[in-house]
Symmetry: C2
Subunit: 130 residues, 2 copies
DNA sequence: CGCATCTAGTTTCCATTGGATACCCGGTTT
DNA sequence: AAACCGGGTATCCAATGGAAACTAGATGCG
């Protein structure tokens, strides 16, 4: 079970895979990437589509995604300058990897809800195991 | 493109899938779940294996995972009480879904690193698009 | 003319979160 | 009795996240 560091061991804080995990294990990344993977999208369009996403965090997240080479930023010198974010091949491959996650969440949300309900009913007397 | 809410639309803040996404899109969840999926693991064993994980956050995360029905907590009345966390079937199915993510990170870490390097070199003069 | 409006952000402020550290409890070894 | 395990909780402080205000260039509208 010992991973070789050269192939990336995310359990070590200094491993590159760990840094990548920190990046992509983020709800906004998942949501934004999956939208942009569908079609190039403008800043405010993203903001309107993703409920609860603030401008600040959207801006930060897009900047990170661009830096990581997952999306591209393209500014058009239109009337009020419009900026379009598009997926890169690298980003598309990540989006494909992430998609099953959304499907899993969708498929199992009721199971989780009932697990939570059961847990909460047990209150704080869950295990008196020998 | 309009998702029906009944089937879960994570773009809406109040959708159950969104809450699930918030939970599982977390680096600690990914790391812990993948360890526990391998074999039942004790509290301090987890802490030692996952570099940078504090007791507080481990405890919190495990509690959430247990509440969500993804792991089980089993306390043995041994010498100093030992507590073992094990994966549930639900957790195992999530772990399987998450595994490709770790593989993706491992496979693409160099691409990302070079994208970052390129971005940083461009400095702050990336796009003068017409 | 001048204010409102559109775009894409940045800045400010405050609440929540996360990490480090210390402590607790029961039991055991020395 | 003191130090030491295992599995936490409590506390303190720094970093993060969200809400909302502000910037800035250009255009429409009255």
């Amino acid at each position: 079970m010992l991973h070789d560091h050269a192939e990336g061991n995310p359990y070590q804080a200094d491993c590159p895979t760990r840094r990548i995990l920190d990046r992509i294990a983020d709800k906004w990344t998942v949501l934004i990437l999956s939208i942009v993977a569908g079609q190039p999208t403008r800043f405010n369009a993203l903001r309107r589509q993703v409920d609860g996403l603030s401008q600040k965090v959207l801006s930060q997240t897009l900047k990170s995604l661009e830096r990581d080479g997952l999306v591209t930023r393209h500014a058009f010198a239109t009337v009020p300058v419009t900026v379009e974010y598009a997926i890169t091949p690298l980003g598309a491959s990540l989006a494909e990897t992430l998609a099953p996650l959304a499907r899993w969440a969708s498929a199992h949300m009721e199971e989780i809800a009932s697990a939570q309900a059961a847990f909460d009913q047990r209150g704080a007397a869950p295990d008196k195991a020998a």
